[in-house]
Structures are given as structure tokens and as C-alpha cells.
């Protein structure tokens, strides 16, 4: 039972990182039907910026997170403006490949800046933990889960009750009609990328706050958020959260139990579990759990 509780805590922590990334993906997808393969690289950039502000510049941690998120939002804005906006109206496949190019362009210099030394993000909670029912509850996990919850709730309220949120929902529904209602669709696109960037920075900061610190392989965490959005369905905000939970918990439970239940699957199998979940879900529901099936025009 203690083991199970421990695995659940680990799973929820992972899920909160995935949820922050997946929400960004979905916001971009809903706004402009673009899947951004550059998102993991944006996350890496965000994590580096937080680390730079907190460790190299030495500003207080909370301020560093805010500044890092702003810097990443700016990167999101610039990516959208320079690389994505000229591609509007082109096939989705082409735009997806542009984001692949973007990923390479963003990631390479960041990897160079991160370097090979272990690099923290200056998180104040350290590696202390409480004990709950025999299981360790690290302060880091609490911070992650609470932050993810707060941001998710905030997003739901934002989309439900604000004018800008309404404008974003309208744009997601139909760009041209939104344009006809006087919504500045271009500004909505930019806003979507900036929101996604800021959330990715927070997610990256959390991903890099464990013992291993920030390294080039933190990128892997971002890549594993892709199955989360597909499991939930590309165009569903609820789906992104559910997908993140499914993928995060599946990964954590596998990490805990696979070595005793199915050792033949090999070491580090938990790292590929998100993709196994992805395959399984796509086999049963080709549009994810909450995604809307495309209505086809012949």
C-alpha cells in the first residue's frame, strides 16, 4: 500500500508537468490547428531561462519563474510571428514540419548554453519531504501538483468568464466568423503561443528541479507530453488534463511494479510507457479519448 501511495505521488507529480505542457499544446491547437513539435524545445528554453535568472543572475526564485515565463512567452510570440504566421492556410503537415525545424533551431543553442555541468533551477523547496501514511511526500511534488491545479483552474475560469477567453473560444470554433465579430484573430494566435510558452516554462522549471537538474535530456520530458495530448484528444482542454493523468500515472506505476511483474520488458521500460498508452488508445479511439472526430467534406 505504501509502495502504491508512493507511486501515485510520483505519478501525480509527472502528470502535473505533462498537464502544463499538454494544456499549451491544446491551446495552440485549438487556436490555429497547429501541433507544435517545437513545444519541448520551448520548454527547455523556459527551464534554462528560469535557471539563468535564479542561479546566474541571482534574483529571488518566484521572480525568476515569472521572468522566465515572460521570456518564454516572448519566444513563443516570436516563433509564431516569424515561422508560423506565414504558413497560415498551408497544409497542416507542412506547418507541423515547420515546427520541427523550429525545434531544432531553438534546441541547439540552448543545449550549448546548458552545457554539461549539472545545473539547478534554484528551487526553494530543496529535496525535503513529509511522511504521509508511510510514503514520502516530497515538497517538490506538492509544489508541482498545487501549481498545476491552480493554473488549470485559472485557465478554465479564464476561458469561461473573460472576454479574451471568449474570443479565444470563438476563434477556436471558427476563425472567419470570429474575424467578422471584430476579434483580432492574429492577436489571439499570438496570445495562444505566449500562454503556451509561459506554461511550458513553468513545466520545464519543475521538470528540471529534481536531483538530475537541468540537462539536455530534460527535453525527453517534453517529448513524453505528446502522448498525453493525443490520449486526451488534440482539441480538448479537459482531455489534456485527463491524458496527462493517464500517462503520468501509467508511467509511475510501471516504474514501480514492472521490474517485479514483467522484468522481461527491460530496464527503463517506464520511459516508453507513454508511447505504449498512445498506441493502445489510438487503436481503440483514433481521435483520442475526448477529441472530436473530424467531419469530412468530400
Amino acid at each position: 500500500m505504501t509502495t502504491f501511495l508512493q507511486a501515485t505521488i510520483a505519478g501525480l507529480s509527472l502528470a502535473s508537468i505533462y498537464a502544463l505542457l499538454a494544456l499549451g499544446f491544446v491551446i495552440i491547437y485549438k487556436a490555429m490547428q497547429v501541433v507544435s513539435f517545437a513545444h519541448p524545445a520551448v520548454m527547455l528554453f523556459g527551464a534554462y531561462m528560469v535557471s539563468w535568472f535564479a542561479v546566474d543572475v541571482g534574483v529571488p526564485f518566484v521572480l525568476a519563474v515569472v521572468l522566465g515565463a515572460l521570456a518564454t512567452a516572448l519566444l513563443g510570440y516570436l516563433s509564431e510571428r516569424i515561422a508560423i504566421r506565414p504558413m497560415i492556410g498551408k497544409p497542416l503537415f507542412s506547418i507541423a514540419i515547420v515546427t520541427i525545424g523550429l525545434d531544432v533551431v531553438i534546441r541547439t543553442p540552448i543545449n550549448n548554453l546548458i552545457g554539461l555541468d549539472i545545473r539547478g533551477v534554484g528551487s526553494p523547496w530543496g529535496f525535503n519531504s513529509w511522511t504521509v501514511g508511510g510514503a514520502n511526500l516530497p515538497h517538490r511534488s506538492v509544489a508541482m501538483i498545487v501549481t498545476a491545479l491552480v493554473i488549470t483552474v485559472f485557465l478554465f475560469l479564464f476561458f469561461r468568464y473573460t472576454r479574451v477567453g471568449l474570443a479565444m473560444r470563438a476563434t477556436a470554433m471558427d476563425q472567419e466568423v470570429a474575424l467578422a465579430q471584430g476579434i483580432n484573430v492574429g492577436r489571439i494566435f499570438a496570445l495562444a503561443w505566449m500562454m503556451a510558452g509561459a506554461m511550458a516554462a513553468v513545466a520545464g522549471m519543475f521538470a528540471a528541479s529534481d536531483l538530475a537538474g537541468l540537462s539536455a535530456s530534460t527535453y525527453i520530458v517534453g517529448i513524453k507530453a505528446l502522448p498525453a495530448i493525443v490520449v486526451g484528444g488534440l482539441d480538448s482542454i479537459n482531455g489534456a488534463v485527463v491524458g496527462a493523468l493517464v500517462v503520468g500515472l501509467a508511467e509511475a506505476y510501471t516504474a514501480t511494479y514492472q521490474s517485479s511483474v514483467a522484468p522481461w520488458l527491460g530496464s527503463n521500460f517506464s520511459q516508453v510507457v507513454p508511447y505504449v498508452v498512445l498506441l493502445a488508445v489510438l487503436l481503440i479511439r483514433p481521435y483520442g479519448l475526448f477529441g472530436s472526430a473530424e467531419v469530412e467534406r468530400v
Binding site: 514540419i97 523550429l102 550549448n112 508511447y275 489510438l282
Partner: protein, 369 residues
């Protein structure tokens, strides 16, 4: 050029691979020049160009499924890996740890292709149900699952950090991968690999050209342009999508089996997402739905590092020694990313499109509008 080469009176001549005599002659001359260049090219260039030939085979495969049939695949690295290890298993020597059958090169290259094709066909039925971006995600998952299998299955792959040698280039006792002598002339290992790669590329390129100009190719294009309309016209979607994946995987398998004979070593972590991205980039930069473009894209991106190395002496901010902003390999990555973005925004038809524009300009010269 005599007569009216652009006037076709029969459908066969319209869809011919090389409709005019001029094209046939120039292709032959070009091939002879490329084959003959091996005599005086230095060793490192031979290796580089041979790699480009082999990569071209892989890119043609990706172009068949993505460019012609419109099924976005980010899983090409996986199929390259399958081919590499199938080739190594069929063509390599058995040791106490590794599986190896030591077959001839004419057997293990097609076998590597077949193994990849069978796996491709096995995965295709899942892929057939998916559309567009969901398919991209599925194939992306495949790369990661494949990496895991390659790491764990060490009786075939040698395991991470250890790796294994690729298949031995052996044909009826003759070794392509050793310096030798043909009819009194000394030939180096590099020259032989270069010619072997060229021959494989010629065979595979003509086969691909034949696929795309036939009924199958037209069905692929119909599926790409609008699958529901294609189905209404009587094209069996499942059949052609599975076929596209199988053929594409066959090409990837052949390319994968040869790709590492050049370096002589297969590492388990070579088949990552970046390799898939590189092949997608070659398709995009060369020109989607074009066999010639595939070869151009593969050659261009394979030679790019060399060109950037050359630029290292000219551009001051490059890290040639220890100081400087970026190393050449990093600059190369950035250029490669920027090229993908640039080509898609400014020339979606790729290098082949640029070539077509130049050619059509001179066709009408000096009366261009």
C-alpha cells in the same frame, strides 16, 4: 533535339520515365560522370557521397509514403534501424553473443528490406485508421518504442554502448569492404562502396519512378489529395495505405542496412527522433512527391556539414578551435532547422521546384513572357 518532343500522341509516351532522347542521353552522360568520378575523388569525399546515395534510397522511401501517398511518417528512423539490424543479422558474422548468418550481400540487402517491409505492413493497419497529425504522433511513438527494443535486444543489436558491426559486403568470396584489384587496377574500399551504393540507388530510384507513374502511384496521389474522393472512385484505401507503408519501409530497410557499412559500426542510439527529422527535412528540402528531388535533398543535406566545415574558416564567430559562439556541428543543426522553415515558407516544392523553375525559364528563353 529533333521533331516536337513535347507533343505526345500516346499515353505511354506521356507517362514515360524519360520522354525525350535528350533526357535519356543526358541521364546516361550524368551517370557515367558520377560513376567515373570515383576514380579521382579523394577517400573522404567518396565516403560522403556514398552516404548521400544510400540516404537517397531512404529518402525516396519516405517520399513514397509521405510525399506521394500523403501519410505523414515520423517513424522512418525506426525502419532504418530495423533494416540496419536485419542486415547486420543476415550479413554479419555470428559471435558467441551476436546472431549472424553471414549471407552474401545480394541476399542480405533485400532481406533487410523485406523484414522492414513486413514490420511496416504489420503496423500499417493501425495507421490506416488514423488521419493526418494523429498518424504523425503514432509513428513518433514508434521511434521511441523502437529505440527501447534496440537497446534491450542485445543478441541482435549488441546493446547500448557496445553496438555491432553491420553486414559484411561479401559477394561470392569478393569483399567490397577491403581494398582489392579489378582486372589489374587497384580499387580502394571507398571506391567499391561508392559504386555499390550507386548501383543500389539506380535500381531503387528507377523502381520508385516506375511505382509512381503506374496505377499504384496514381492511387497514392489520389489518396493523398482527398482520401474520401479516392475511395468513391474505387480505390481501396486500406490496401494502398498498407502498400505505401510496406514499400516505404522496404526502401528504409535497404537504406538502413547499407547506411552503416560506410562507418562500419551500428550504434543502438543512432535511430532517434532527430534521424527521422533529418529524413523529413531531406524530403521537404528536396521536394515532396519527386524522386529526383529526394536524391537532391539527400545529397544536399549529407554534404551540408562538409560545406559548413569549409565555411568555418571564413565566418569568425564559429568555434573552429575552442573559443567562439557555436561549434560547426551546432551551426549545421541550426542551418538545417532554418532550411526546413525557409524552404516550406518560400519554396514548398524544394530544390526540385527551383530546378524546374530554372529549366522552364531556359526552355522559353529568350521569350519568357
Amino acid at each position: 533535339m529533333r521533331g516536337r518532343p513535347a507533343l505526345f500522341t500516346r499515353y505511354e509516351s506521356d507517362s514515360a520515365m524519360l520522354p525525350t532522347t535528350t533526357q535519356r542521353v543526358w541521364l546516361l552522360v550524368g551517370l557515367l560522370v558520377v560513376a567515373g568520378a570515383a576514380v579521382w575523388l579523394p577517400r573522404d569525399w567518396l565516403i560522403l557521397i556514398a552516404t548521400a546515395f544510400i540516404a537517397s534510397v531512404g529518402v525516396i522511401g519516405l517520399n513514397l509514403v509521405t510525399g506521394y501517398a500523403g501519410q505523414v511518417s515520423l517513424g522512418h528512423a525506426f525502419f532504418l534501424g530495423v533494416g540496419a539490424y536485419a542486415g547486420a543479422a543476415f550479413g554479419g558474422e555470428a559471435t558467441d553473443k551476436l546472431v549472424g548468418f553471414g549471407l552474401d550481400v545480394v541476399l542480405w540487402i533485400p532481406l533487410a528490406g523485406l523484414v522492414a517491409a513486413v514490420i511496416g505492413a504489420a503496423i500499417a493497419p493501425i495507421a490506416v485508421r488514423l488521419r493526418g497529425l494523429y498518424l504523425a504522433f503514432l509513428t513518433l511513438g514508434l521511434v521511441f518504442l523502437g529505440e527501447h527494443v534496440f537497446r534491450e535486444w542485445d543478441s541482435v543489436t549488441g546493446g547500448p554502448g557496445i553496438g555491432r558491426k553491420p553486414g559484411v559486403l561479401r559477394l561470392a568470396g569478393w569483399r567490397f569492404d577491403l581494398d582489392g584489384e579489378i582486372a589489374g587496377y587497384a580499387v580502394t574500399r571507398e571506391q567499391q562502396i561508392y559504386w555499390l551504393a550507386l548501383i543500389v540507388l539506380i535500381i531503387m530510384a528507377f523502381a520508385a519512378k516506375n511505382i509512381v507513374r503506374s496505377r499504384i502511384g496514381r492511387a497514392f496521389a489520389a489518396v493523398r489529395d482527398r482520401d474520401i474522393a479516392a475511395e468513391v472512385m474505387g480505390i481501396d484505401l486500406t490496401r494502398y495505405k498498407v502498400l505505401a507503408f510496406a514499400v516505404s519501409s522496404f526502401y528504409a530497410g535497404v537504406a538502413g542496412s547499407l547506411l552503416f557499412t560506410v562507418t562500419g559500426f551500428v550504434n543502438t542510439n543512432s535511430f532517434n527522433l532527430l534521424l527521422s527529422f533529418a529524413y523529413i527535412a531531406m524530403v521537404v528540402i528536396g521536394g515532396a512527391a519527386s524522386i529526383t528531388g529526394s536524391i537532391m535533398g539527400a545529397t544536399f543535406l549529407t554534404l551540408l556539414p562538409r560545406l559548413i566545415d569549409g565555411a568555418g574558416g571564413v565566418l569568425p564567430f564559429l568555434k573552429v578551435s575552442s573559443q567562439g559562439l557555436l561549434s560547426t556541428s551546432q551551426l549545421e543543426r541550426i542551418v538545417f532547422g532554418a532550411l526546413i522553415i525557409g524552404f516550406l515558407i518560400f519554396e514548398p516544392r524544394g530544390l526540385n521546384g527551383i530546378w524546374m523553375r530554372i529549366r522552364n525559364y531556359w526552355k522559353a528563353w529568350p521569350f519568357s513572357y
